[in-house]
Assembly symmetry: C2
Homo-oligomer: 200 residues x 2
């Protein structure tokens, strides 16, 4: 009934997310987004209203995709609690390894967005999205920690909530270290050291 799109929306959002992740919101021009998505200005604005709107939809898509993969690992009944936490760290390490192969660090919308108050105040949905993502992951890790304490694979020196915060921090730390140029091998050891603190 009308002219069809020459691009897939989901693919476009993921491409946009990649660009935003690497350059940050303010330092990404709409032109960069056009080339990244492989589409003209007109199409971009036709499909996604504005840069702000595109950003919101892009991080939404990205965070959801990420969350699904993580959920699979953290909720895997075949693993002990400790193995689930280890699995989560492995996902992060794998992502950084892939990114490193392309010559850059993975970047992380959560960290970058959290670190920019102005970005959050730009549109309340942004802060909300990131906060929901964080909170969902927090609960998932907390649950895995409880499982681990029950099956004896995780220390009881900390409450599950404390463990969840620690794991989040550990992941953020690894991401920042990756940006600082730490080689994969070092990132792996950092993860191992961190997890060691959670052994019973």
């Amino acid at each position: 009934m009308a002219r069809p799109r020459t691009f897939d929306e989901k693919t476009a959002l993921m491409a946009a997310a990649r660009t935003f992740r690497r350059h940050g919101f303010a330092d990404t021009t709409t032109e960069q987004l056009c080339t990244a998505v492989g589409v003209g200005r007109g199409s971009l604005y036709n499909a996604f209203t504005s840069k702000d709107e595109l950003f919101i939809r892009a991080i939404e898509a990205y965070l959801q995709a990420l969350s699904e993969v993580e959920h699979e690992v953290l909720g895997d009944p075949a693993r002990t609690g400790a193995e689930r936490l280890q699995g989560l760290l492995d996902l992060v390490l794998e992502e950084e390894e892939n990114a490193a192969r392309d010559g850059h660090a993975a970047g992380c919308i959560s960290v970058a967005t959290l670190m920019s108050p102005d970005l959050r105040s730009r549109d309340e949905r942004i802060g909300k999205l990131v906060e929901e993502d964080r909170s969902r992951r927090h609960e998932a890790v907390k649950h895995a920690a409880r499982i681990g304490q029950a099956d004896g694979s995780v220390t009881r020196d900390d409450a599950p909530d404390g463990i969840a915060w620690f794991v989040s921090g550990l992941i953020s730390g690894i991401r920042v270290n990756a940006q600082a140029g730490a080689p994969i091998k070092v990132l792996r050891r950092t993860a191992a050291t961190g997890l060691r603190a959670l052994r019973p």
Copy 2:
């Protein structure tokens, strides 16, 4: 012999640094800088050439001030290695506590700058400054770790270099968690858990 400045340069730089830390480079306008420093546009440009130049000098001043305080703790011969590392973490926690009292997280130029590749590519001095700061801290922590391994207060499960990366990551993680809204109490526990991994 000429009209004197109405402001102190060092104070101005620290005020600018504070502003940049909270909003990030791209999201800080020169007007914000003027009000933060308490000076007109003309004066600002007269004293510091451009926004870029001001940014560079501001982070330079800030990182140096920070580094001096940290050096005192990490090099304190009265402390064991573990106590020095604990002291470093205490500095970070203290900074976050003060910031929290003002209703915001401390922010961290290192993390923010590392997380923004475009910012670094803007002027090579920026990346260099942050990298030098990181590297200096890295060496200082590594040294403290060695001391700790020698005096028996720090584990030998990891090499000093690995410990240094871990501690940097731990600090970054704490800063990110602070931005995410974690209360001081949680940050403290995260630090404690991390340091537990370094016990012999």
